[in-house]
């Protein structure tokens, strides 16, 4: 990790989204799996929203509806030993990372069967066994932490990578740039995923960022960046495969800006008056990630409408089971108040 003389050439000007983005060539079973994983997130989040409305979930609850293609395209490009970290909109990351929906839902209801034993809540979920390190509520903190996970991968001389997700809002935090700088001088294997859903709570990127092409935020650190259609899981996966290879090859960090969109408010209590209904409707009807993949599946003849309906039904029933579990499971014992403060 010796401070090395930089022999790198300045990064080529970042590749913006081309009109013809590279698309991942998914095998038939992969395509179906992408569809199912995205649908699981959507149905899960819809149920979470409903349960919030019933008063079963407390506090803040940030739904991932609309952004499903990002997490599915990214996570499926990883291998054992890679690590992942994100902010507080992480239910989808938990589900795709292989955590039982029951444990995620029971965490939302604050029950003993929750993945954090009911002590973390919506914003604080972890599954370190599967390489997922949270679930952090301080905007931007996960970027430095994720850089540390990448540091550990390199320190141990593995070819593993770290993925640090953050939003367009977090991209204005100072520590993001402190992290970019260190990651580049030490060639740390970190893929920075900027989930640009256009709104930092209620403030649009245009109002908050002097450079709205967020993929260019690494330029002064010589980190390559690319803008990706985050509503298309095949585009996400193709871009991620390239970024991961770059990192595994020891070339240093990489930035992917995912242009995506959340259909719901920032959190459950956000009426989202800062954007028009037409804008939301347009994204839903013309760019929906699940509809897009559904069209490919139908086109290839992998499933027909009846199969799709059956798949949806199976996922709904899985989510319903998670919801029942999350309501039946007891609250944590009062003695749990004092556990896990220190080792």
């Amino acid at each position: 990790m010796a401070p090395k003389k930089s022999t790198k050439k300045p990064a080529a000007s970042p590749r913006r989204r081309s009109t013809k983005p590279a698309l991942y060539k998914a095998a038939d079973d992969e395509l179906i799996s992408f569809y199912q994983q995205m649908l699981l997130i959507r149905r899960f989040e819809e149920k979470a929203g409903q349960m919030y409305g019933m008063g079963l979930i407390g506090g803040f609850c940030h739904l991932y509806i609309g952004q499903e293609a990002v997490v599915v395209g990214i996570q499926t490009a990883l291998k054992d030993g890679d690590s992942v970290i994100t902010g507080y909109r992480e239910h989808g990351h938990m589900l795709v990372g292989g955590t039982d929906p029951k444990a995620v839902m029971a965490e939302l209801t604050g029950r003993s069967g929750g993945c954090s034993s009911g002590k973390g809540g919506s914003m604080h979920m972890f599954n370190p066994e599967k390489g997922f390190y949270g679930g952090h509520g301080i905007v931007g903190a996960q970027v430095s932490l994720g850089t540390g996970l990448g540091f550990a991968a390199k320190y141990r001389k593995t070819d593993n990578v770290s993925v640090a997700y953050f939003g367009d809002g977090a991209s204005n935090q100072g520590q993001v740039y402190e992290s970019f700088n260190m990651a580049q001088i030490w060639d740390l294997p970190v893929v920075y995923i900027i989930e640009n859903n256009q709104y930092a709570m209620g403030t649009s990127v245009k109002r908050a960022s002097s450079e709205i092409e967020l993929c260019r935020r690494g330029e002064s650190f010589r980190i390559p960046g690319e803008q990706v259609d985050g509503m298309n899981v095949l585009a996400v996966r193709a871009a991620m495969d390239k970024a991961v290879k770059y990192c595994r090859d020891g070339k240093g960090p990489y930035i992917l800006e995912m242009k995506t969109y959340r259909y719901r408010g920032h959190s459950m209590s956000d009426p989202a008056k800062y954007r028009s209904k037409e804008e939301v409707q347009k994204m839903r009807s013309e760019h929906d990630a699940i509809d897009q993949i559904k069209a490919v599946i139908l086109d290839r003849g992998l499933m027909d409408e009846a199969d799709l309906k059956a798949a949806d039904k199976a996922i709904k029933s899985r989510v319903a089971d998670a919801a029942s579990y999350a309501q039946e499971c007891p609250e944590p014992a009062l003695s749990e108040l004092y556990t896990n403060v220190l080792a």
Binding site: M1, A2, P3, E46, G49, Y52, G53, M54, G55, L56, G58, G114, S116, S117, K119, G120, H124, F126, N127, P128, E129, Y133, G134, G135, H136, G137, I138, A141, V143, S144, L145, G146, G148, F151, A152, A153, Y155, S162, G174, Q175, E178, S179, N181, M182, I185, Y263, G265, M268, S269, P271, K273, R284, P330, E331, L334, L337, Y338, N340, V341, L342
Partner: protein
Amino acid sequence: MAIEINMPALSPTMEKGTLAKWMVKEGDTVESGDVIAEIETDKATMEVEAVDEGTITQILVAEGTEDVPVGQVIAILVEEGEEAEASPDALPEPTKPVVETKASAPADVPAQDVFVEPSAPVVAVTLADPAVPQGTEMTNLTVREALRDAMAEELRRDPDVFVMGEEVGEYQGAYKVTQGLLDEFGPDRIIDTPITEHGFAGLGAGAAFAGLKPVIEFMTFNFAMQAIDHIINSAAKSRYMSGGLVSCPIVFRGPNGAASRVGAQHSQNYAAWYANVPGLKVIAPYDAADCKGLLKAAILDPNPVVFLENELMYGESFDVPVLDDYVLPIGKARIFREGSDVTLVSYSITVGEALKAADMLAEQDISAEVIDLRTIRPLDIETVIESVKKTNRCVIAEEGWPQCSVASDISAQLMEKAFDYLDAPVTRVNSVDVPLPYADNLEKAAVVNADKIVTAVKAVCYSE
């Protein structure tokens, strides 16, 4: 099957709301995601989306109705291909709004106990310093060398330990505490950072999540204010928030408190700040042996540890036992000098002033017992209480501001736990409650010294 659509809770605090507008009418079919109504909460007007697909067969609450309680059935939806068989009268009682059950007793406790705070588990571990056998060779080391030796020993023992900070490598340490480490351990383990406290504190915490054991040096703890979010929100809280799944074995160390003539921004004592935080351990040693034994303990500890040194102590020399593995227990105070008339409690550099004060008091026939806390969290209040039971008086000397200080906390605990043993008010001797001035005379007037301690002791002994 008919599905009840309930009045939703749309904010963490909402209990009722106004059904402002229906966006559907009876007979409409809806898909999940369709907006079916607008609800006015105490904060905003929110849209309600359908979660299930089907036909709205009944609307039970007219638009414009105010104060609709959360959980009340507002409409009935029938899924595709099913008959609308049930009338609202025949429907089962709506699920009790959980807003209410939230406030009810957890199932495993009798209702009358709800407001009784469950007591923390009593930790009955007796901590003791390791025995130093008679005849053990002693070596005279500066605090600086003792700290360096502690790190070097742990770096040799465990390849997961690394040291990171500004000027820790090629410059050999801004205060020369890491002198020689780069030569022995190389640049992969002794890592010079840019000037980027927030970033490298977070990077360190992330590396610790992954199982490494970072020793993060802050050039001074004044600069750690840039990084305090990671020390508290990332390092201290992750184990609890994850239900024990995530560990963060990290040490944040560096000089803390006033040095000499460096002005207000470089002279603050942060012991009370960090000691306030569950999930952290906080150590502030005085002499070289404690610096060595406790820094080794901090690196070995599976929890995040804040290790507060003092720049003015770095060059001071003390005897350190020559033992293979000298590790001291975290959380154990040390009775530095025994006495019978008054208990003098202190930590870090101020222990030296307390010892000086004890000498001065001895000349006036006042016997002071001097306790060095060594660890601020967990605080060894038992040792202080046992001493106060004997002396019946207590003065706490701390270089740092008085309000919400470590001294204030000890004073409060003595009031709660040793009130009957006190013959005089517990008294705090803290720094003056101003930002530290630069001028030599003003700086001297602001900090704690032996004379101020002597004055306070004489007051509680009613000897003037």
